[in-house]
Symmetry: C2
Subunit: 364 residues, 2 copies
């Protein structure tokens, strides 16, 4: 299912291919966020045109709106939202644990939908069931993370619960999926353990015993600091079997992505390019693998005839001035956030393509 | 400048060509509204793809934001906003007279910019000057309208002021424009007079004496009722010289547009397709020249796999279900208003194309 096609000679970076029910994707891979089944403001035609082959959709949000029953009527999330690439869905856990009204039990979590005020339950099995109903290409197990700041005791509990839930997820998944079908969806485990190496090691060991198609690192980028984060990544990646895809959840900024690729990470997702874009913060290249973030709302762009990034070949930089983009944001025209999100996602895509070329040339 | 190419044998409808600095446009013609120099949420690439050749931009809004000085730096409004078709600009009057803090003097109006709290003046000459700075293809004179409900006395005053301002606009325009240049911008006069035939007649007579490239009917669709409105249109159109383009300002719904085309109107603009689209109200064809407006937020569309309009060939109807559009509006994804606006503008364009075909076939 995962084939490593090229290994860097100067770092642990690698280029691979992941075979999924919806098609093959190349790694390193960045997933744009389609929380409610769409990348806000953009059409999937545009996402595809940039070159993206896989998106991340949020199980928690979609289960509540439009609801799993409606997605089932369309046979798949892809059919419902009109995306013809691959989909990775999270388990719903991360969103649920950030709610105010959430109770964690041994076998499930109970939470209040903040919009409709209804009580919901989510178990490890239920999360897999929903993701299978969505016909996701990659499913994530329900893990438990207590949030930052944390005490070692809490993380210990989180690792233990995460292992139990991972076990149950795998059992349920095996019951539902024909493992002889080589185009089956993949199930990824999530390593917890905070900044504590012994807990991270335990979590990974537990998951390896259960056996997953890929291994994700969760609970990072939450407040522990970048150097602590990379210590954990460095420590873990060496222990995840080389032939398995490695997914660093929710990270991040492009310099962090470059560094993590060098450490051997294959898959990334992050809200940064789209969320920043929605607020008028736009990525501009400075030198190779260097960039700055420009706030287009700044008055100094009011008369600026230049494109956002004169080195960028995207639709936005070929057709629009900074002054007009500034004007669109000032007049609250949704075209503004659309163009900024498009450019940022294009920027991310190209950045990773450039890393791939550099890996092949032996420069990364 | 205006050539009538086809006249209906069963109505006063006609098909014409209007030669403008930015290119030729065919009438009957509907102008999408680009208040701040952009059709909200859409890119001009999309507006062009639908088939639109001309848009309407609002002088009042653009003069305040980004400001005429900035547009001048780009040499034209077209350059600033990246539109390569034609532009008609209004005079700014209609918006100003709907503000709370506005004082009307003999030679100018004074008003307060509600966002920045600054005092501004606009004279007939200033309005023309701004529109010339924008390099508009069609400029409208500053007219005066007191708003609905009105008394005959107020309309009498409005007609008299409108005539005076029209005179001054024409004088100023003639000073600035080389009339020997056959690719010069056009200047349209605006007929006022409320629902009073003698006042409408006087207003038109005054304007005809001054002489304009086209004649617009203003101050309709404000509360006087549809039958009164068509009485005025019917009365006026017969008196506007046949060789001049006739523009019915701010109207409207498609059945009104069809009726007005039959009466001999050539140009229309209206916020309906885009404003309704932004609120999830979408045009759906029922029978020939008949349609209904569907509210996509209605719960009954939650599971509806059908396209918005199964008879429509637009990008939205070819690619998206009602259920997904409903979901986009429910989750406040700006893609929703973008798709709905796109479909509605496509619908308007096709509707008018169909009227043109029907005129040529002798059916309208």
């Amino acid at each position: 299912m995962f084939k490593i096609e090229y290994k860097s000679k100067i770092s642990r970076a690698r280029i691979g291919r992941l075979k999924l029910p919806s098609g093959e994707v190349e790694t390193p891979l960045f997933l744009p966020i389609a929380t409610f089944g769409n990348v806000r403001g953009l059409s999937f035609e545009e996402i595809k045109k940039i070159g993206y082959q896989m998106i991340l959709a949020n199980t928690y949000h979609l289960h509540l709106r439009p609801g799993t029953e409606i997605i089932k009527k369309f046979k798949s999330l892809k059919n419902f939202c009109g995306w013809n690439g691959s989909i990775l869905t999270d388990s719903g856990g991360f969103q649920i644990f950030s709610l105010k009204n959430v109770k964690v039990f041994e076998n499930f979590v109970e939470f209040l939908d903040e919009i409709e005020g209804k009580k919901h339950k989510l178990s490890p099995e239920k999360s897999i069931e929903i993701q299978l109903d969505f016909k996701s290409d990659i499913l994530m197990v329900l893990d438990y993370f207590c949030g930052w700041p944390y005490k070692k005791k809490e993380i210990e509990k989180a690792v233990s619960l995460t292992t139990k839930w991972a076990q149950r997820s795998k059992i349920f998944f095996k019951e539902k999926i024909n493992f002889k079908n080589h185009l089956r969806p993949l199930l990824f485990g999530i390593i917890q353990g905070g900044v504590y190496k012994n807990l991270r090691e335990k979590s990974l060991k537990d998951l390896l015993e259960i056996g997953f198609d890929g291994y994700a690192i969760g609970g990072l980028g939450v407040g522990e600091g970048v150097s602590k984060m990379f210590e954990v990544i460095d420590f873990l990646v060496k222990k995840i079997p080389e032939e398995k895809p490695r997914y660093l959840m929710g990270i991040g900024l492009l310099d962090q992505i470059l560094k993590a690729i060098k450490k051997g990470i294959d898959i990334f997702d992050c809200v940064v390019p789209t969320r920043e874009g929605r607020h008028g913060r736009i990525f501009v290249r400075s030198q190779k693998f260097k960039y700055k973030i420009v706030n287009i709302l700044n008055t100094k762009y009011k008369k600026d005839k230049k494109p956002i990034d004169s080195k960028c070949n995207c639709f936005v930089c070929q057709n629009f001035s900074r002054a007009f983009l500034h004007h669109l944001f000032k007049t609250k025209d949704p075209l503004g956030l659309r163009l900024a999100s498009f450019h940022n996602l294009y920027f991310y895509f190209e950045f990773i393509e450039e890393i791939k070329r550099a890996i092949k040339k032996g420069k990364v």
